[in-house]
């Protein structure tokens, strides 16, 4: 067992964990933060994407011990007092989700993309979301949602 201290969605947790415990299982099984789902076991689908110290990571590929001393943001840490972020609103308004399973990972990946490229082209959005798979939407509405947010910032 290894002792870790991680700040997740604004709350600091102290825990003893097995060194092999994946961050996604730590979040889901130990902390009960089940907003981030698991879609694969090969870092291919992106459903489990969270932010680790401000950078999007696939939490099935990070050990909980690697998050020691770090700050983690999950989709559950985005909306405060029912106030959705611009991306969450855009996903809703653009019908950028159907079953919604990939949505938390998509939103977290899109945040990272927009931080790196605040005003991406549609192609840049598609390439930026390459690591996140969706089976329902054909991606078109997801791309529109991300572009909406970038335009929102331009006009703001």
């Amino acid at each position: 067992m290894t002792h870790i201290s991680v700040k997740v969605d604004g709350t600091t947790y102290e825990d003893d964990v097995e060194p092999r415990l994946l961050l996604i299982h730590y979040l889901r099984d130990r902390l009960g933060l089940t907003g981030t789902p698991i879609g694969c076991d090969t870092t291919s689908c992106g459903s489990c994407t969270v932010e680790l110290d401000g950078t999007a990571v696939k939490s099935c590929t990070v050990l909980a011990v690697q998050a020691d001393g770090c700050e983690v943001t999950t989709v559950q840490g985005l909306a405060h007092d029912g106030d959705w972020t611009a991306l969450q609103r855009a996903f809703h308004e653009r019908h950028a989700l159907q079953c919604g399973y990939c949505t938390p990972g998509m939103i977290m990946a899109a945040r990272d993309l927009l931080r790196e490229h605040p005003h991406p082209t549609p192609d840049e959005v598609r390439h930026g979301l390459e690591g996140n798979l969706c089976r329902c939407t054909g991606y078109q509405n997801i791309v529109r949602a991300v572009l909406d947010v970038s335009e929102e910032e331009v006009t703001a």
Binding site: A79, W84, L97, Q98
Partner: protein
């Protein structure tokens, strides 16, 4: 007071479903936890076919935290065979299908043993500790070779790898062929696909020992059907089992199933008296969740030299995989009625042979039989056009059912109620700029451009509304095709809609709210829709095969109509008027000629709740239920056009533009319809260009993870241009037709037609799906060599 309320049907309402999904307040099955929850894991066969000589779980049992471990033999008596509900032919061979293999494993992934432990990591350790001795047996991997003399048997007790033969014919195909100027014969391959819903499957069972009640949560599309079949399979009475489908992360047919894991988890929760959870990993899903397609299609079309189609002959070899799942034999036969598609012809001959192989079982996937049928007819229409030197659109125009000919009964025996293929096609061609693209294509050929342009068309129809119960009975399907809806108007005037459909991304809550709001004249926001729980919604046939709107949605409308009928009686009594004198509009009853004499439906609901002053003999409720059994199917249609650029030097295919005009009848929510189309088109393109489940020579799935199985990502897909025409269905009061599988059905042939079209100058007639760069390159190369 009398300003017109905006109708809900037809509005692009954002979804009620989204709020919890975009904030992570979700209820996926794997999210469910209860005190004392234990984890169940399954050891799977690493071999395609082997005798099980010994299973030793003793070392696993010694690990700290392991509660129990069992072999298939330990549990054989507690579990019945997994059900097949669709033995399409009288003599269909239905092998025993134990949830855990007992004596023999028949595909790589077949369950061999099960462990229960305090957490998933301990359970994973325990699987490693189980010892199994196998004696390898020869594996049957080739669909075409499966019936050859001397081939090994997947089920030796059955003496054959033949599951069934099915034949139907209408008109005299041999005579049609004899009269034909041209006969085109092709063999198409429907590669095996892995459904890959983003949520892997999961099951949680919580037992209540004292009463013998069980709640089973499952990522299923079919909670109602599952409940019945769990009772049949385990002997636990149906009225002791509650099945809940919480948030379900996609299904596409792969969760239209009674899976062994559901049976195993229920049986072991009962035996151990503890709550259990099983969650599939993705690499487990790729072998353990049923696959789709996997057919060899021999197609022959006979036509006159002017393009008039005279007859069609279809002969299929359909892979069942190692066992029959719920619907396996029925899927190819479901497609049988769709091969003649939208074309008039005088003769049609269909036959199908189902065969067993040592691979993961096959069952319904995204269109289930209908994409396969549409692919074959739309591909061979292109090949026929090429043979005749006709434009493929002109050939279709020459043969399709004209708008004024509806209703039209096809050679396959289906009666299409309405359609307008001309309108959809003309609109699509204009959006696509067809003539300009054809000119560019010719130009590139003239200049010997190494990057060729190809244009593909697909004028499809879908068969939605699965299905009239009588038809299902005739097809030897074990259950009906009805759907239930009930509506409760609460004392405050808020409305609860209970539906038997079980959505997993389709937006039923929003669409059903729109339907109910319009029918009752209540605000959209006042409607709640409940589903997916056999305790809340006791009657249902669930969601698959593009049936939900056409049957379930229409049932909501009919239940609302019954509510209004009951409310009218109460309102007439309260207003001291005759029912015939009442108008109902915008949620209020008014007396004809005196609009001030008015009762809203909310006021009526409260009066029915208080029951102080109801008509004599009336029961104190305006709630209603409607169970709808459709008379017929519905037939959306459309025209999909795809332009591809094919690099003849690398084999790379780039989709340059994709345009579709679909006619799904009356549209409830255009935004949801468009979204469904986008996702479906993406899957259709994926079959055309990317996805294929591949096995090695020993029967191991080599595309066992998402790192190997190529699900397209955002950069792999183009923008789709979608538009629509609207020809209402005449077979239901809403005029709706359904849309769930349209994109998948239409797009695969459009894309492959485009790829082949680009390469026809090289003598290429067909490219096997998926049209990978290697296959395209090989086709160009062998074409060049042939023509040299």
């Amino acid at each position: 007071m009398s300003e017109t309320v905006e109708r809900e049907v037809g509005r692009a309402r954002t979804r009620k479903e989204d709020a919890h999904l975009i904030t992570g307040q979700t209820n996926w099955t794997d999210n469910i936890s209860v005190n004392g929850l234990l984890h169940l894991s399954i050891l799977r066969s690493p071999m395609a076919h082997a005798r099980i000589d010994r299973v030793d779980v003793s070392a696993a049992l010694e690990l700290p935290g392991v509660i129990a471990a069992f072999s298939g033999r330990d549990l054989a008596e507690a579990m019945g065979s997994l059900p097949c509900a669709w033995p399409v032919a009288e003599d269909t061979v239905v092998p025993d299908h134990p949830p855990i293999a007992v004596d023999e494993v028949r595909y790589a992934g077949d369950p061999v043993a099960v462990v229960v432990a305090r957490d998933r990591y301990t359970a994973a350790d325990a699987l490693e500790a189980i010892e199994v001795d196998y004696t390898p047996l020869p594996a049957v991997l080739d669909i075409e070779g499966s019936l050859a003399e001397g081939t090994a048997l997947v089920h030796s007790d059955k003496g054959t790898n033949r599951c069934y033969d099915y034949h139907s014919a209408s008109g005299d195909y041999a005579a049609a062929k004899a009269r034909a100027d041209v006969v085109v014969t092709r063999r198409y391959h429907q590669q095996r696909l892995i459904p890959t819903a983003m949520e892997p499957r999961a099951v949680v069972v919580t037992p209540l020992a004292a009463s013998g009640d069980f709640t089973l949560y499952s990522s299923t599309q079919i909670p109602h059907v599952l409940r019945v079949l769990l009772a049949v399979t385990t002997g636990i009475p149906e009225n002791k089992i509650r099945v809940v489908a919480p948030d379900v992360g996609g299904g596409f047919g792969s969760k239209l199933q009674v899976y062994g894991e559901e049976v195993i988890t229920l049986v072991l929760a009962k035996r151990l008296g503890r709550p259990l959870k099983w969650t599939e990993s993705r690499s487990e899903a790729n072998v353990a969740t049923h696959h789709g397609r996997s057919q060899v299609q021999d197609i022959e079309i006979a036509a006159r030299s002017d393009g008039t189609v005279l007859g069609l002959k279809v002969s299929l070899l359909a892979d069942m995989g190692a066992y029959l799942m719920l619907l396996s034999p029925g899927i190819p036969v479901l497609g049988a009625s769709m091969y003649p598609a939208i074309y008039k012809m005088g003769a049609y001959d269909f036959s199908c042979t189902g065969v067993f192989t040592n691979r993961t079982p096959i069952d319904a996937y995204r269109g289930a039989g209908r994409p396969e049928a549409t692919y074959a007819i739309e591909r061979i229409m292109d090949d026929l056009a090429a043979e005749l030197g006709m434009d493929p659109v002109d050939l279709r125009r020459h043969n399709w059912i004209r708008h004024e000919e509806f209703p039209y009964t096809t050679i396959a025996g289906l009666t299409y109620d309405s359609g307008n293929y001309e309108a959809a096609t003309d609109k699509a061609l204009a959006l696509f700029d067809y003539d300009k693209l054809r000119a560019e294509q010719a130009d590139r050929v003239d200049h010997g451009d190494t990057v060729r342009l190809g244009i593909g068309v697909s004028t499809y129809t879908e068969m939605c509304g699965l299905a009239p119960s009588r038809w299902l009975g005739e097809m030897r399907y074990a259950a009906g095709g009805w759907e239930a809806a009930s509506i409760r108007v609460l004392p405050t005037g808020k409305v609860e809609v209970v539906t038997g459909t079980s959505p997993h991304g389709q937006g039923h809550v929003t669409s059903w709210s729109q339907i109910a709001a319009d029918a009752l004249g209540v605000p959209f926001e006042d409607v709640e829709v409940m589903h997916g729980d056999t305790m809340l919604a006791p009657h249902g046939m669930d969601t698959y095969g593009s049936r939900s709107l056409v049957i379930g949605g229409v049932a909501v409308h009919e239940a609302a109509r019954k509510v209004v009928d009951k409310a009218r009686k109460v309102a007439a009594h309260l207003l001291e008027a005759s029912e015939a004198d009442l108008d109902f509009a915008d949620g209020a009853f008014t007396v004809k000629g005196s609009p001030e004499a008015r009762k809203t439906i909310q006021e009526v609901a409260f009066a029915a709740f208080a029951s102080h002053d109801l008509p004599d003999g009336m029961e104190p409720s305006i709630n209603a239920e409607h169970v709808l059994d459709p008379d017929t199917f519905s037939f959306p249609h459309g025209t999909h056009l795809c332009a591809v650029e094919v690099d003849t030097e690398t084999g790379a295919v780039h989709i340059r533009s994709y345009v579709c005009v679909d006619d799904v009848g009356k549209v409830i929510n255009p935004m949801i319809v468009e979204g469904q189309l986008h996702g479906g088109i993406a899957q259709g393109i994926a079959q055309a260009l990317y996805e294929e489940a591949l096995y090695d020579e020993d029967g191991n799935l080599v595309t066992g993870t998402l790192a190997d199985y190529l699900v397209p990502g955002a950069p792999d897909l183009p923008e789709f241009v979608t538009d629509r025409t609207e020809t209402p269905a005449t077979s239901n009061p809403l005029g709706v037709k359904g849309v769930g599988e349209a994109g998948t059905i239409a797009s695969t042939p459009a894309v492959v037609n485009a790829v082949v079209d680009a390469l026809r100058p090289f003598g290429v007639q067909d490219i096997r799906m998926p049209c990978t760069p290697e296959r395209v390159w090989q086709a160009v190369r062998s074409g060049k060599e042939t023509s040299a």
